[in-house]
Amino acid sequence: MPTIADIANAIEATPIGTAIAESRYAFPIIEGTHLIALSVSVGLIFLTDLRLMGLFLRQIPAASVIHGLRPYVLCGFALVFISGGLLFWAEAAEVIASPAWVFKFAFIGLAGLNAAYFEFVISRRPGALSPERAKLPRGVKFAGLASLAIWTLVIICGRLIAYLPHWS
C-alpha cells in the first residue's frame, strides 16, 4: 500500500511538477502570485474582521462591508488555491514533511469552520449586523477576533514552511 510520502513523491515526479520545480522563472512567479492573491483575499478578510470588532470603518454598516468585499475575497481565494496548488505540485514531498505546512492546513480548516459558523449562525441572529446598533453584539466581535487570529496563524505557518522543514 502506498504511503502518503509515496503519493507526494508521485505528484512531484509528474511532468508538470518537475517543470515548475526546474523552471528558473515559474516557481518565483507563482510564489509572487500566491503572495499578492493572499494579500487581497486574507487581507480583505482582516479588514472585515476589524470592522466586526468595531475598530475600522465604524461609520459604514458591517453588512455593507461584508457583502461588498465578498466577491473580491472569493476571486482572491481562487487565485490563492490555484497558485498554492501549483506550488504543492512542484514540492509535495518536501512540504508534507514540514510541521508548518501541516499546521497551516489545520488552521485553514479552522478558519473555514469559523467563517461558516459566522455566516450560518451568528450573522443570522436577529439584529446581529443591524446598522442601527452603535455597537455590534459580543458574539460578532468575537467571531471577528477569532478570524483575525486564525488567519494570522495561517500566514505565520505559511512563511515558516521554508524554515521548519522537519518535525525534529
Binding site: P28, E31, L44, L57, Q59, I60, R159, Y163
Partner: protein, 157 residues
C-alpha cells in the same frame, strides 16, 4: 567612504552580528512581520482602489472609505520597512549585491512616490475625476505588485 566600506561598517556592527549569528528563526520572525506588513498595506490599498473604481461602498464618499484605510497603508509599510531594514542589517552585502533587491528598491521608491504624490491626494477628494482615479489605481497597484514580485525573486537570483 565607498559603498563597499559602508556595507562593511554595517556588517561589522553589533546589531548586524546579533542578527546574523542568532537562531535562524529570528530571521523567520522578521519575514513573518515583513509579509504581515505587506498584507495590511495591500489590503487597505485594494479597499480604497475598489471604492475609487466605484465597485464597492458607493453609498459612502471616497474620503469616508479611504480616511482610516490610508493610515493602515502607512502602518503596513512601516511594519514591512522596519522588518526589512533589520534583515538588511543582518546581511547587508548579501542583499545589496542581489540584482532583484536593487530592482525592488527602485520599484519601492516609485510606489511610495505614487502613493504620497498622487494616490493619497485622489483618495482625499470627494468626487475625483474617474480617469484620474483609474490611473492612480493602476499605477499604485502596478508598482506594489511589482515590488512584491521583485521581493519574492530575491531568494532565487
Amino acid at each position: 567612504m565607498t559603498t563597499a566600506d559602508f556595507l562593511t561598517l554595517i556588517q561589522a556592527s553589533t546589531l548586524s552580528h546579533a542578527i546574523s549569528k542568532s537562531n535562524h528563526l529570528l530571521i523567520a520572525g522578521f519575514q513573518v512581520f515583513h509579509v504581515m506588513g505587506f498584507v495590511l498595506l495591500l489590503a487597505a490599498l485594494v479597499l480604497i482602489s475598489l471604492r475609487l473604481l466605484g465597485l464597492i461602498l458607493t453609498q459612502q464618499t471616497v474620503p469616508e472609505v479611504a480616511g482610516q484605510a490610508l493610515r493602515l497603508v502607512w502602518s503596513g509599510l512601516a511594519l514591512a520597512v522596519g522588518s526589512g531594514v533589520l534583515m538588511f542589517i543582518g546581511s547587508p552585502k548579501h542583499y545589496f549585491y542581489n540584482p532583484a533587491f536593487e530592482v525592488k528598491m527602485v520599484l519601492l521608491l516609485a510606489a511610495i512616490l505614487v502613493q504620497a504624490l498622487l494616490f493619497r491626494k485622489v483618495a482625499h477628494t470627494d468626487h475625483p475625476n474617474p480617469w484620474l482615479a483609474r490611473a492612480s489605481v493602476a499605477l499604485s497597484l502596478g508598482f506594489w505588485f511589482a515590488v512584491s514580485m521583485a521581493g519574492r525573486a530575491i531568494g532565487f537570483v
